[in-house]
Each structure stands twice: as structure tokens, then as C-alpha cells.
Symmetry: C2
Subunit: 137 residues, 2 copies
């Protein structure tokens, strides 16, 4: 547990939340600033900053909970689809530095926009793919 972490305090029930699901290793609760009704956060009970520092085994426990509760969220709020998102580091819009997975219900004409896409220049994709493959441990 981290002293100044709001999600650690939610886990310890020192701060209330609208709880969705809890097991030994993970917790799910409603985001208080939802993009839409039913927007849920899933977190590990152990404090990790984000996907860059959580061990694989712990990360998979969190994703197992995401997989388990996503259909329930979709059905409960009668959503047409679901976006799942993880923000890692401040530059990627991470605001609370305890890993959390967003489960975001989507509705017809809800006005939410995905990221705009670009195009690679000739040969650029091959070069970048090589760079990445070289870094995989």
C-alpha cells in the first residue's frame, strides 16, 4: 500500500466507492468521472504504477477480472459496445498512479471520439518494426 494513493485507500475501504467486483487480488468499482454510465475501473490490490512495472502474473489477474465483468457491464447498462483502455504515464493521460483498467460502455451517438490515425511514409514501418523487435526481452 502506498500512503498517498487514492486507489490504495479505496482498497482499504478508507474511501468509499461504488463497488462492482472484488476477489483476493483485484477490485472493480465505478469511475466517479464516467465517460458514460457504468464506466468501471479494475485495479490490482497490490500497488503498481502501471503496465510498465507490474509483473506479468499480477497483470493477468487484473485482465482476468476485466474479461469476467465486461459482459455484465455491457448488459447491465444496455450498451452497444465497450472500449477498454489503459493509460500508462502522465503523457498518456494517466492521472492516478496505481494501475487501472478502464471499461467504458458505448452508446449510439454518445459523441466519444477515438484517436485519429496517420500514415507511415514508404519504408518507415519496416524500420520501426525492426527497432521494436530488437528491444523485446
Amino acid at each position: 500500500m502506498e500512503n498517498d494513493c487514492i486507489f490504495c485507500k479505496i482498497i482499504e475501504k478508507k474511501i468509499p466507492s461504488d463497488m462492482i467486483y472484488e476477489d483476493k487480488d483485484t477490485l472493480a468499482f465505478l469511475d466517479i468521472n464516467p465517460v458514460n454510465q457504468g464506466h468501471t475501473l479494475v485495479i490490482p490490490k497490490k500497488h503498481y504504477k502501471n503496465i510498465l512495472d507490474i509483473p506479468s502474473k499480477e497483470f493477468l489477474k487484473v485482465m482476468e477480472t476485466v474479461r469476467k465483468i465486461t459482459p455484465a457491464i455491457k448488459e447491465a447498462v444496455n450498451a452497444g459496445g465497450i472500449n477498454i483502455g489503459i493509460s500508462n504515464e502522465k503523457i498518456a493521460a494517466q492521472a492516478v498512479f496505481h494501475l487501472h483498467i478502464h471499461i467504458m460502455p458505448r452508446f449510439e451517438n454518445d459523441g466519444l471520439k477515438m484517436f485519429p490515425s496517420k500514415k507511415y511514409k514508404e519504408g518507415e514501418a519496416k524500420q520501426i518494426a525492426n527497432k521494436i523487435r530488437f528491444k523485446i526481452i
Copy 2:
């Protein structure tokens, strides 16, 4: 394999891709319409539509690959952060109906915007949390 699925054809090497990683169950390659350099897609080799129909065990194999290659992508393109995203159903901006996880490198002032958030009315969050908990199988 699905006959008309572009990602199944990438898996079968009938369509070329800038490959990042491959193992027995998963494949990772560069998105041809990247939000930023190094934008990678991770897919299961077996065809599933999205998170709503993939069995948990298969989903976790995909997420294990995501966890494994994300730090490599960040380092290779010198990104400041990473957004991970999964679009499930057309209404959530899913365009190819073979489950794929987006790994999106982020950079200072890249101009990408996250979803805008809202507020729940008094008592509304509690009511929705109840509905969702009731639906969890």
C-alpha cells in the same frame, strides 16, 4: 480461420505485415494507420470477434504478449507513455472483427485526446453499480 478476415490472412502470411512478435498463440504487428509511430496490434491466432466471445484463457495469452512487448515498443520509439485500447463492437469503433489490442505510443504535444468525462447525478452511481453486480456470472 475466417475466410474474409484480414487478420486471419496476416496470420497465414497471405497478407504481409510489419511483424513485431510471434509465438504459438499470438501475433503482434504494426498498425498500418498508426495514431503515432510504433502503434502495434496484438491478436490471438485463433479467430475471435472481441472480448465478448473470447474464452478467458485465450484472452490472457494475448494480454501476456501485450505486457511482454509494451516496454520494448516504448523504448524503441522513445515514447513518454503508452495507451492500450480494445474496441469491442462497431459502436465502440471496432473496424476489424478479429480481437486486437492496440498499443499506442504517446509523445509530448502529439495532440491526441482521451475521452471526455462526465458526472453522475446523486444516487445514480449506486444504482448502476447494483445493476452491474447483479449481472456478473
